[in-house]
């Protein structure tokens, strides 16, 4: 029905979008895998990171691809402090309280952004925003190709941290057996905070990759995070490869349903998949049945 000339670029664009979802989802799944909580503040943190990247460009003239090296450590520190000094102590170790505290933080951040910057939508103007690369069969926007590549760099970096460093080993130990890790002398509160920091740093990287050809407003993060939730559930909560594959899949589904059904219905498609996966396979396509 549709010629491959339209279909193939749609699929490739879906994969590129999926890569950004993957990066947002990576942070979410990492936090879930270790702390066993869903971080409802993830979207608000993404909005905040995008504003930070926006002002780094406007006020300091920093290109988002340069600002990422400042913002990632900065947001690591923010994430670390949030978990260590607010979420941890405030929730008294009760899962339901953690949910509510992250929700409260989300509400605060999102509305602080709204209060400070109003609901205006902003964009930055970089020379390469509309540059494209000719792949022979299709043209692809440079920022999206960069984003696609960066996701695999970040995923690899995370894998290296988790596999070869002491911190990574401690994180995996805590994820597997919290009490045992604690008995072995691992500072669980510290490991939780580091994990939360890493997840938040992922968000900062996504923000810098998104900014060159995306807009910023106080609610922008939510659009991505609802998709990221879907991705994380689809890929199996806590599974990093699951998140990558799930994200690429969702990106393609969204792109194709947008093509066939139109924008707003494409959005409904995501939620229907989300609810269906939650109801039918809450452990995801790749997760083991608990």
């Amino acid at each position: 029905m549709l010629s491959p000339v339209i279909l193939i670029p749609a699929i490739i664009n879906g994969l590129l979008t999926g890569a950004i979802y993957a990066l947002v989802a990576l942070g979410l799944t990492l936090i879930y895998g270790v702390l066993h909580i869903i971080n409802f503040a993830h979207g608000a943190l993404l909005s905040a990171a995008m504003f930070a990247a926006f002002f780094a460009f406007r006020l300091l003239g920093l290109d988002p691809y340069v600002a990422v090296f400042l913002l990632a450590p900065g947001f690591f520190a923010i994430g670390y402090s949030l978990q260590r000094f607010i979420i941890g102590p405030a929730s008294h170790g009760d899962d339901r309280n953690i949910l509510l505290v992250t929700l409260g933080i989300a509400v605060i951040i999102e509305n602080a952004l709204l209060y400070a910057f109003r609901a205006d939508t902003r964009t930055i103007d970089v020379p390469y925003a509309f540059a494209t690369i000719d792949f022979g069969f299709t043209f692809l926007a440079v920022p999206r190709v960069v984003g696609f590549g960066a996701v695999f760099v970040v995923a690899l970096a995370l894998w290296l941290i988790m596999t070869f460093t002491d911190t990574g080993r401690a994180i995996r130990a805590v994820a597997k057996e919290k009490l045992g890790a604690e008995l072995a002398g691992i500072d669980v509160a510290h490991v939780y905070a580091i994990t939360f920091g890493l997840g938040t740093a992922c968000v900062a990287v996504s923000a810098c990759l998104l900014l060159p050809n995306y807009y910023v407003n106080p609610g922008v993060g939510n659009a991505f995070v609802l998709v990221a939730f879907t991705v994380v559930v689809l890929g199996g909560m806590g599974s990093v490869p699951g998140a990558l594959i799930g994200a690429l899949l969702i990106g393609v589904v969204e792109s194709l349903s947008g093509l066939f059904l139109g924008e707003s219905l494409g959005q409904i498609g995501i939620f229907v998949i989300f609810i269906a996966v939650l109801l039918l396979r809450p452990n995801g396509l790749f997760g083991a049945r608990s």
């Binding site: 309280n97 509400v107 605060i108 609810i275 109801l279």
Partner: protein, 331 residues
Amino acid sequence: MKALVPIAAVIGVLALVPLVVHSTATLNFLVVALMIALAGQGWNILGGYGGQYSFGHAAFFGTGAYVTAILQVRYGVNAWLGFGAGIAAGAGLGAIIGGLTFRSGLRGSYFALVTLAFAELLRIIASVAPITGAGVGTLIKLDLGARAFQFQSRAVFYWVILALVAASLVTTRLVECSRFGVWLTAVRENEDAAQSLGVDAQRVKSTAMIVSGAMTAAAGCLYAQYFLFVDSGIAYGTWISIEALLTPIIGGVGTVFGPLIGALVVKSLGEVAKLVAGDAPGLDLIIYGAVLVAVIWLSPRGLIGGFAQARQWFRRFVVPTVTSSQETGRA
């Protein structure tokens, strides 16, 4: 019956307010606060007593609001019948969502996520479907008169909504005293243990969700009837999901009066913020978020729990110095 005395007393006092206060702004404030208290009481049945934290109670609020509005505007149904239908629709939606999610065994974070997704799904559908007026929303025709459930005087509306709040308080109290309520709290405390003792957890939770959905939908119906306007951002917006869970948690989760106290406190804080900093977008929600975190941090059982704790502390450390002989004898 004795259990209902405090409710009668509180409602009695609140009922006198319009006789003393004539300011439209104050009555307006109280009407909205009571509406939120009603929505919060719905959340409290499921979340407070049943331990199932929903992040998407907007689904019920919005459904109640839209059903009332659409039946009146598009089908010429009487407003009171529309009101009843809105509540029934909320209960029905509760049965559907509850049936689906609890049958799949979703708990904790998963339950919060799926309720959030249902609310968002409904919001997107309402923002594009022609029957809801899509992006424009639905406007209920002004037709002042008791027959159309519209009142010239705010005081009358206040009493109507107060009556519904009273009904919700009594319902909650009855749930609390009933066998069903005990099952529900047992499920909250330890679902597996409750089940091993023969409690049909899935059915108990689904029933709680039906009652919960009906109550929150009633608040939505009243909203539509009071403001005579509904759109997708109001009806299914995140704000109502947040306020519905905020009020019981701040007042005292799993208590009869928690949502009412929480709603009055939360709404007052919002008003004070407006007075201090002007009507800026987002400000009230920043405060709500901060209060939510602070209450969980400092007093996880809300203001009622905090008050009880303070009284206990007072008894233990302050009173003994006065009447030490009796206390030490017992200790």
